[in-house]
């Protein structure tokens, strides 16, 4: 019916309509728009862009756009197909078969095959995964019957494994660029070649990292953005200013002072959101050194728990970005979280009673004893948390000296020399507590100078046994029961006092759409994100 001539004009017309639609943000939101440069902040500047060799957050944020995983996690943390289109688990839970996506190429044009996966398992995940290599060592071997099938043969069943198979937890590196090299020093760690939606373009250290759209991305038509510039802006006030000015569209990982977040959230051009961190689920806690006075005594630990008003802490220090933590497994891990554990409500009188009972009476100056508190050297919020703890404990007669230091000194002191009394720290749980919680309580890691492990020095035969059993338990229900039991023990003995379930936040320009579409978004690609109007050229 349509003549060639009118077809021609119809094209012209539809282009016009499309263009017109662009200028009406309200309507255009339904229809993702292609193009534009996303200006983002990356802070601190990463040292590597390859999460497989360094699991630091900035590495994950940038590298997440360059790499894909076997799976990705949806907002409910369920694995969804990414490079693996589907997978089967054998009835004995010991064999997992992944069917890989066809037609995927690395950014340098080489085809992506099962060999890349098998090579990465043996040479990267097993020796180098910093979080939990045991998870991968449990995979006895990987078979590659054809170029798009990988079969994992597990020694023991492992449910937790399925929480670590995204592009961050199990990053697949291109075998053809890495084979035969030292993975840790391979130059491609700094100019990665992945399969993801964005291609690494340049990294001017101290200034920015530039990624460009992968035109050959397997998810045809995506990504929408032409370019992502991750700018390095070391100062929080300056970050807030760039966001306020609209120079920056996307800033993950709580990029600005909380007070500024509160302020910017009120601006029409800016949104502040806490989504996209579900896969991490981080929480803040105090580690007591249970091997030394005065925290050898459980009553003293409990007294401290009663002395700290978590809600006030969240309100004053964290400006509401958080939730009171009651157990070592954050409430967002709904299945595993156990609310029925000993709670230590804010009750200074009870705290003082416990201290009296422990024989630590107030002296003539009102002071029972003096301790040193090593606060986490991650910036002002953690320092203020320390100051809050100091003030809170002073009320029950404990004089606190705060000790500032840098990260290297902190981890050596707490996890190596164990020369501390009370330290603050935070940890990510990941969707399965086996990954993020075991390390904080297992006696295996005490004093071995492993950062962010068991700092308190807690050794408990029952919890050690629970960790062992839960790791290989194929029955999800039994596993959950074991983890709930663990939480009761942990909160009774209280080697570690959970304070806050942290809510990291992102700051976005209002015109940035679909920046968060998955549960592991923070370490995932901005495949779906688009800008609701042409980005300013300036």
């Amino acid at each position: 019916m349509i003549s060639r001539r009118s077809f021609g004009s119809a094209v012209a017309l539809s282009t016009l309509v499309f263009a017109a639609g662009l200028r009406r943000p309200g309507h255009a939101s339904e229809e993702p728009r292609r193009g534009g440069t996303l200006n983002a902040i990356i802070q601190p500047e990463p040292v590597s862009l390859t999460a497989a060799v360094l699991a630091a957050a900035p590495t994950g944020i940038v590298g997440g756009n360059i790499f894909d995983g076997l799976v990705k996690y949806d907002r409910d943390l369920k694995p969804q197909p990414e490079l693996a289109t589907r997978w089967e688990i054998s009835p004995d839970s010991r064999t997992i078969t992944f069917h890989l996506r066809e037609g995927v190429t690395w950014h340098d044009g080489q085809p992506f095959t099962s060999a890349d996966v098998a090579w990465s398992l043996e040479n990267v995940w097993k020796p180098l995964n910093p979080r939990n290599p045991a998870l991968f060592r449990n995979i006895a071997r990987a078979d590659t019957p054809d170029s798009h099938t990988v079969i994992f043969h597990l020694t023991e069943p492992s449910i937790a494994l399925f929480s670590m198979l995204n592009g961050n937890g199990a990053q697949i590196l291109p075998k053809h660029l890495y084979e035969g090299t030292n993975v840790l020093t391979n130059p491609y760690n700094l100019k990665p070649v992945g399969t993801g939606p964005f291609v690494f373009k340049e990294w001017v250290k101290g200034s920015h990292i530039l990624l460009e759209r992968n035109p050959h991305y397997w998810d045809v038509g995506k990504p929408y953005l032409d370019r992502i510039v991750f700018r390095v802006i070391p100062d929080g006030a300056a970050r807030a200013a760039t966001l306020e000015k609209g120079e920056i569209h996307y800033a993950p990982l709580s990029p600005i002072p909380l007070r500024d977040a509160e302020r910017l959230a009120k601006l029409p051009t800016i949104k502040v959101g806490t989504e996209g961190y579900d896969w991490l689920t981080s929480w803040l806690y105090l580690d007591f050194n249970v091997n030394s006075e005065p925290f050898k005594d459980t009553r003293v630990r409990r007294a401290v728990a009663h002395a700290i008003d978590k809600d006030a802490l969240i309100k004053v220090v964290w400006f509401g970005f958080g939730k009171a933590a009651v157990s070592p497994i954050p409430s967002s891990l709904k299945a595993f979280h156990n609310p029925d554990v000993p709670l230590y409500p804010f009750d200074p009188k009870r705290a003082e009673a416990l201290l009296d009972e422990a024989g630590l009476k107030r002296g003539p100056d009102g002071i029972r004893f003096t301790i040193t508190h090593d606060y986490l050297p991650y910036g002002e919020d953690y320092r203020r948390t320390g100051e809050f703890v100091k003030a809170a404990l002073k009320r029950i007669g404990i004089e606190v000296t705060l000790r500032g230091q840098d990260t290297a000194a902190f981890t050596r002191r707490v996890y190596g020399d164990r020369d501390f009394q009370l330290a603050s720290s935070w940890s990510s749980t990941f969707p399965d507590p086996q990954i993020g919680v075991t390390r904080l309580y297992t006696s295996e890691f005490v004093g071995r100078n492993i950062p962010w492990s068991n700092g308190s020095g807690f050794r408990n035969a029952e919890t050690d046994a629970i960790f062992k059993a839960a790791a290989t338990e194929p029955d999800p229900a039994k596993r959950i029961a074991a983890w709930k039991r663990f939480q009761v023990i942990a909160q009774t003995e209280l080697p570690t006092l959970p304070l806050v379930e942290l809510k990291f936040f992102n700051v976005y320009a209002a015109k940035l759409r679909n920046a968060v579409t998955r549960g592991d978004q923070i370490f995932g690609p901005l495949t779906e994100a688009w800008l609701d109007e042409p980005a300013k050229s300036q």
């Binding site: 700094l190 700018r231 390095v232 802006i233 200013a241 990260t407």
Partner: protein, 333 residues
């Protein structure tokens, strides 16, 4: 040829040899002092990297330590380092995965640009204000200039930086908040230079204000001192006009201590660059040094300290030469 003539011919060579020896001495001294100082720091690069990962296993840590060479005794590490330095090899930043020299050279232009711009600003504006204050000594202009200079001197640099951002970037929207260039614009040539210039204004002014205060005060003081000298009286007695006296006789001689001060201030400007580069996201050496310190990236930090020390020495040699041109009493070789 006479012996004197021979010495005359050799003299520049001898002097350069002495300067090279001075640099060599400083290099070895800096390397030694800092190597042992920095190794006093608790924790090492492996722990920092593991710390950033949010997790680590003993095996991972051991692998890192071996890779960084941290598993060797300190004296062997030092011997190797010194050997490398003496062959002009600054070593490798394992953390950054790049040779230290490359990292430094990448950052050096930004810092050099920032320093040059802020020194120029401080020197020109400072000398001008100081000149004005000295000419109007005791008057209101002098008081106002002196008070402003003191305020610049007394206000913490980072505070000035943040306030300038709020005023000129956020409120007035005249200048960018930070960074060195508009990356996404992909400017080339003149447009790029202009773009960098726009980004340079605030950091250079912030870093320069403190030193502007110093130069203002110094120019004023040395001009006043020179006003009291006999040759100025001679010029007055000749009937020379006050303006000409101020420029040709007084300012010209007052430049000498200013140039000396310039050489001495260089180290302090480099130090101030850390703060300014932080506030303005300027991708320079100061910030790199700061991060290297906290990441226990000792090769890199040592390299930067060495490089900045050498820079200070070299600039001071340049200042010596400049002094030779400014002051005929100093012999130039």
């Amino acid at each position: 040829m006479s012996a004197v003539g021979l010495i005359q011919r050799l003299a520049p060579g001898v002097r350069w040899a002495r300067r090279l020896a001075q640099i060599a001495f400083i290099v070895i001294g800096i390397a030694t002092v800092n190597f042992f100082l920095l190794h006093l720091a608790p924790g090492d690069a492996a722990e920092v990297m593991a710390g950033e990962a949010g997790a680590a296993t003993p095996e991972f840590m051991a692998a890192l330590r071996e890779q960084f060479g941290l598993d060797q005794p300190l004296y062997i590490q030092f011997g190797k380092y010194l050997g490398n330095v003496l062959t002009l090899n600054l070593g490798y930043s394992f953390r950054q995965g790049l040779p230290v020299s490359r990292l430094i050279l990448d950052r050096l232009p930004a810092t050099a640009l920032l320093m040059a711009a802020s020194i120029t600003f401080a020197l020109v504006a400072g000398a001008a204000l100081g000149f004005l204050a000295a000419r109007r000594a005791g008057h209101l202009t002098d008081t106002i200039i002196s008070v402003i200079a003191l305020l610049f001197y007394a206000t913490p640099v980072f505070w000035i930086g943040v306030v300038l951002i709020v005023i000129f970037s956020v409120w007035l929207d005249w200048l960018p908040v930070g960074g060195m260039a508009t990356i996404e614009a992909g400017y080339q040539g003149t447009a790029y230079a202009l773009d960098v210039g726009r980004h340079l204004v605030l950091p250079a002014v912030t870093l320069g204000l403190f030193h502007l205060a110093i130069y203002t005060r110094l120019t004023r003081a040395s001009m006043l001192q020179i006003y009291g000298q006999d040759f100025v009286r001679t010029a007055v007695a000749k009937g020379v006009a006050p303006g000409r006296i101020a420029v040709r006789h007084v300012l010209r001689n007052a430049l000498l201590p200013i140039v000396t001060m310039l050489g001495m201030q260089l180290g302090s400007i480099l130090g101030g660059a850390i703060l300014v580069e932080t506030v303005f996201s300027w991708p320079g050496l100061g910030r790199l040094a700061f991060e290297a310190l906290f990441q226990r990236d000792l090769n890199l930090l040592l390299g930067i300290l060495l490089a900045s020390s050498i820079l200070v020495v070299v600039v001071n040699i340049a200042v010596d030469l400049a002094y030779g041109f400014l002051d005929p009493r100093v012999e130039i070789s």
